[in-house]
């Protein structure tokens, strides 16, 4: 089980696959025809056998997810595509759709057949303006060619796909929040149970899959489960899209087998650290995953190995920081993100991320106090696994991992009132006053004056 190959990116050199004709001549929609001849159970089984796991972050086995959908409730079933790709550092779904939109439609259609769904939604984040247009054009083309609509490919199976645009809310990537949003409510997560597979969209059984996950499905149908397992690891077969950004020479999206060591991605694909500097820290799976350091470069990029190293594979979004970067700033910026994106529903997330972002801003600005660090550590403990959903846990990752790996940097900030890496002190980065923490708010409240 090793080797490499390009599956999802196989046609990236062919600009024609953005349109239906190009996609068809590259073998597109062959899997859809095959799937039409298969039963729902056969489709679920082949995906189960392939070992495909969700690419959105949690890594849940896709075939098993499909099999949870009850078929005898008398209600419709829905497939909802989670294209709300918003995890900082993550952008492979965007490029996958930009280049080959029909592959997503084909995967979505096969998923729909597997669970007997006749209406699927694609929830795309609002910021993907053009990508939405591309996808809508592909949908229109697919209808015109008979891949969608009444009587798919002349048979008796009907399928509609509706594109629904988000409007700027990271939390809508959480699947129950996504459903709330799609139903026209505030994008706040809901209690589970009931799980979406049983009571999801419009209280009906619903499967929610990530874009990259679904794009793998046509290839599994075309080539079989065993083929899929030829690359990757035993527990995490297949290839995975990795996004690498930050301080590297060639940032970008790369398709690599699961388990590829970080060093290979960094050096062979991304061209090494920018300017030949030394790597200081990196996230393996986006902002929600704890920072790793240069000690972890030989860890394989798969769910299990990364977890063993103390982090999470998440979305496979690697952000690289070099020796000149300030870890307090990095933590502050990421925690600020979570404060900004907290939906507000539950206490630890709403209050905890707000508090942490302000304390971090104060330390970064050179106004830290000795007792801030134990308070920060407490905050992390008191937020982690205590909030309604996993968003707040994401905020804990940068807090705890920087405290773990870069405590000396915090201490230096507090002791010297400036950053040992960048040399910036009070007045830098917009920090002019102790209370003047840049903290974007969406609502009409004022911030009281400086604290003592």
């Amino acid at each position: 089980m090793s080797g490499t190959r390009r599956v999802l990116t196989a046609h990236w050199d062919d600009p024609g696959v953005i349109r239906l004709a190009g996609y068809e001549s590259a073998g597109g929609y062959r899997a859809l025809r095959t799937a039409l001849g298969m039963t729902s159970d056969e489709l679920i089984q082949i995906v189960k056998d392939s070992g495909l796991r969700g690419r959105g972050g949690a890594g849940f086995p896709t075939g098993m997810k499909w099999s949870f959908v009850p078929r005898d409730t008398g209600k419709p079933t829905y497939v909802t595509v989670n294209f709300d790709e918003s995890e900082p550092g993550t952008c492979n779904n965007r490029e996958l759709v930009e280049r080959e939109p029909h592959a997503l439609l084909e995967g979505t259609a096969i998923a729909a057949m597997a669970i007997g769904c006749h209406l699927a939604f694609i929830y795309i984040r609002g910021e993907y303006l053009w990508q939405g247009q591309i996808l809508q054009r592909a949908i229109d083309e697919a209808y015109a060619a008979g891949y969608l609509g009444r009587g798919v490919l002349g048979g008796d199976y009907d399928l509609d796909i509706v594109l629904h645009r988000g409007a700027g809310a990271y939390i809508c990537g959480e699947e129950t929040a996504l459903l709330s949003s799609l139903e026209g409510f505030r994008g706040q997560p809901r209690l589970r149970p009931p799980f979406p597979a049983v009571e999801g969209l419009y209280d009906s059984p619903t499967v929610i899959n990530n874009v990259e996950t679904l794009m793998n499905v046509p290839h599994i149908v075309n080539n079989g489960a065993d083929w899929f397992k030829e690359v990757g690891t035993e527990k995490a077969p297949g290839t995975k899209m990795f996004t690498i950004s930050g301080k590297v020479e060639r940032p970008g999206n790369y398709e690599l087998p699961m388990g590829t060591p970080m060093r290979v991605l960094l050096e062979e694909y991304a061209g090494g650290v920018l300017g030949g500097r030394a790597i200081k820290a990196w996230t393996p799976g986006g902002s929600s995953t704890p920072f790793l350091t240069d000690e972890h470069l030989d860890v394989g990029l798969d769910f299990e190995a990364i977890m063993e190293a103390g982090s999470l594979l998440g979305t496979g979004a690697i952000m690289v920081l070099d020796e000149t970067d300030c870890m307090v700033e990095a933590a502050r910026r990421l925690v600020e993100f979570y404060a900004h994106e907290s939906c507000g529903k539950c206490t630890p997330c709403r209050e905890g991320t707000w508090w942490a972002s302000r304390v971090l801003g104060r330390i970064e600005g050179g106004y830290g106090r000795e007792d801030d660090l134990p308070v920060m550590a407490d905050m992390g403990r008191n937020i982690l696994f205590r909030a309604f959903c996993a968003l707040a846990d994401g905020a804990v990752s940068p807090i705890q991992s920087t405290l773990t790996h870069f405590m000396d940097e915090y201490e230096a900030h507090i002791r010297e009132g400036r950053c040992p890496a960048t040399g910036r002190g009070p007045g830098a980065a917009g920090q002019t006053e102790p209370a003047d923490v840049t903290f974007a708010t969406t609502g009409p409240f004022e911030i009281q004056g400086a604290p003592s």
Binding site: K345, V375, F385, E446
Partner: protein
Amino acid sequence: MSAPEPQVTLTVDGKEVTVPAGTLIIRAAEQVGVEVPRFCDHPLLEPVGACRQCYVEVEGQRKLFTSCTTAVADGMVVKTQNTSDVVHEAQVANLEFLLLNHPLDCPICDRGGECPLQDQALAFGPGESRYREAKRVYAKPLPLSPLVNLDRERCVLCARCTRFCDQVSGDRFIELFARGAAQQVAIAPGEDFRSPFSGNTVQICPVGALTSTPYRFAARPFDLSTVDTVCPHCSAGCNIKLDMRRGEVVRHLARDNYDVNDAWLCDKGRYAFRFPDAPDRIAMPLIRDHGLEPASFGEVVTRVAGWTEGARVAILTGGRLMDEDYYALSKLARTVFRTNDLDHRRTGDPGAADSERHAASDPMAVTYGDVEGASVVLVVGLDAEQEVPILHLRLRKAARRGARIWVLHPRRTRLHDVATHVLCRPGDEGRLLAGGADGVLDEALTALREAGPGAVVLAGERHGAADAAKRVADATGARFQYVTRRANDRGALLAGVHPALLPGGRGLDEVDDVERVWGPLMNREPGRDTMGILRACAAREVDVLFLVGVDPLRDVPDAALVRRALDNVPVKVVQSLELGSLEPFADAFLPASAFLEKDGHVSTWEGRGQRLRAIRGRDGISLADWEIFASMALACGGDLGFETLDAIHEEMGRLLGARSERGVAVEPPGEAGNAAEEPSGSVQGLAPQPDWERERGAEGATAEVGRSPGSIGDSRDAGDGGGGDDLVLFTYPLLVDEGRLSEGADELKAALGDEAFVELHPSDAGSLGLADGARATVRTDAGLAELPVRVTEHVAAGAAFVPFNQPDLAANTLFSGAMVTRARIEPVEEAVEGSGEPAVAAAGGES
């Protein structure tokens, strides 16, 4: 009906408890006396898991669980803050988060002293904050309405208020806006929190974020003496806590009773609490010699007794005395005055005769619980939100649980989002219920038949509708209930304060039981109803008229007739809390005690008897109504045969106790003052009093019914070329109006009150040339009013609605003995000559 729920057994802090599967841990813990701290949890709202205060540890699980969202499982071992350090620390930490931005203004917060957040902070919160950053600051308070104020700084964002508006009242005026740390409760700018249930959000707020204007800075919890009682306003019978400060009522709060009001109270019940202390209360007997002058009770009673000797006596009362008062009055009329000319109704309705008899003889035929559990409900002639608001909430709850609801009414009600409405012109109900009008109700009737006893038919007081509805219930096997509006109309019916009914719904042709207790009844001819009595008074066929807790000038829909009656009847005896508009007419005044001051029972619309107890001393030298009746009987040479409540109860038990199939309205002999709890949902507390009668009185005229919707051909100035045919004009009182019991409730009126208006369907408005907001003259054979027009599809075509008792219109000047008539409605001409200018009808009530 359903199979028994499977039970699961778990332990909470080592205590074993067995509960139905699906129970939440927090509820199971309560059953063994373990209280897990919580803010967002409320047993009548769906779990949300927002505040995160109620963490518990479940053995074998890595993470803590919120006990308000986690269902029990068999064999589960739960540890709360009492037995788990981890849980305790997590709760302390969460409290720290909640307090970060909370202002330190407990000393000036209305919630101080009864605040869950304050209690918990005191019990285990950190003494000093570790938060060194700036706090969130909001303008405060933000008025959401004249009744409710929002202080966003104090809010813990538990979403109880917004969930109440979503899940219970359906009045989604307030919502959570924005997100993250900026998330806040808010209202759409320019809107008011115009929900008649808004006060519930104040009560369930776990902090001082929502406060009410009437209670703002009024008292501290340690200043208050709190008593349990029942709301005096309508037949919902909500259980309340009444808070007094130095003897003055400062607050009503809902008291939990899941058999009656759940945990809710409407805004009228909550905020109209000042009437017992109205300034025009008279607490001494008066007699008219030259003018009205104080006299002793004995003297007045003796004088009145003298007037009644050999006289033709008639009695009018209202719907707000207690069961015992009504029983005594019924017996006084029949055994002493030998008259059946007595009535409590505003609008007697021949189309409700069967329904009334059913209500009087079959208490608890339909209960709140039956409504909640019904699979199909047909509501006929009832605007539940305005008339019995808590029944409205129970209907919404039923809908939420899957009930299919139809409403047959001339106006669309606030059930519109959960029920199918069939709008019909007043008077057409019977035809529609019999399958007329192309069977617009066929689906409902089929559903009723299929559901059988799982179906409920509720009929309100709209003219002619009740018996038609009852026939449908009888034919389909649905349960039926006649829903009377005022606090104890039901008790009056039960006691036979009615020209054709004796206690227990017995007719005058089935007197055996009654004679066994009361002795021979000399008069077995049905008496006159309210309108009949008033007409007889006007025709000088009555010598002495008793007006007990009623103000017909205000309450009876024929103001002109009432005035003639009062002018022509030689002797008027008023028994009430005050004289009000009857002052020029009264020959004698007998002061009655207020509901705060006496013991007794009132009956809900279901017929559920609820016990009230005196909670403050009697004012002046007033007496309970039944006591006055008893002494009147003695002065007349008769004897009602009881001098104590116990004795009344014993007698009532003999006539009423055994007749109910499903419950007992009034228990047989109980112990005097602290008589035990009533069957279900009973209360200790006190009872309503005559005075409130003033809110609206009795009426009801058999003959009048036909007359009023009849001709309007004699209308004055028929010559104006107004547009079109007559419309059916109907009226009923809105929840918030100029009723006597709403005196002093200025904030309530500002928040929910309305100026008078006339409501027209667009098709009628169009043919009449009237636009929304225009002014129109409304002309009936009784009178004339100039009113702003509301054009809305929420009223049936061919019908027009005016509210009964608004500050700028006493609508009884427009009606002739029924709450429905015919009217000609025309645009107001801009430049009319002075003489032709329509006089706006007199404002309601002098108070």
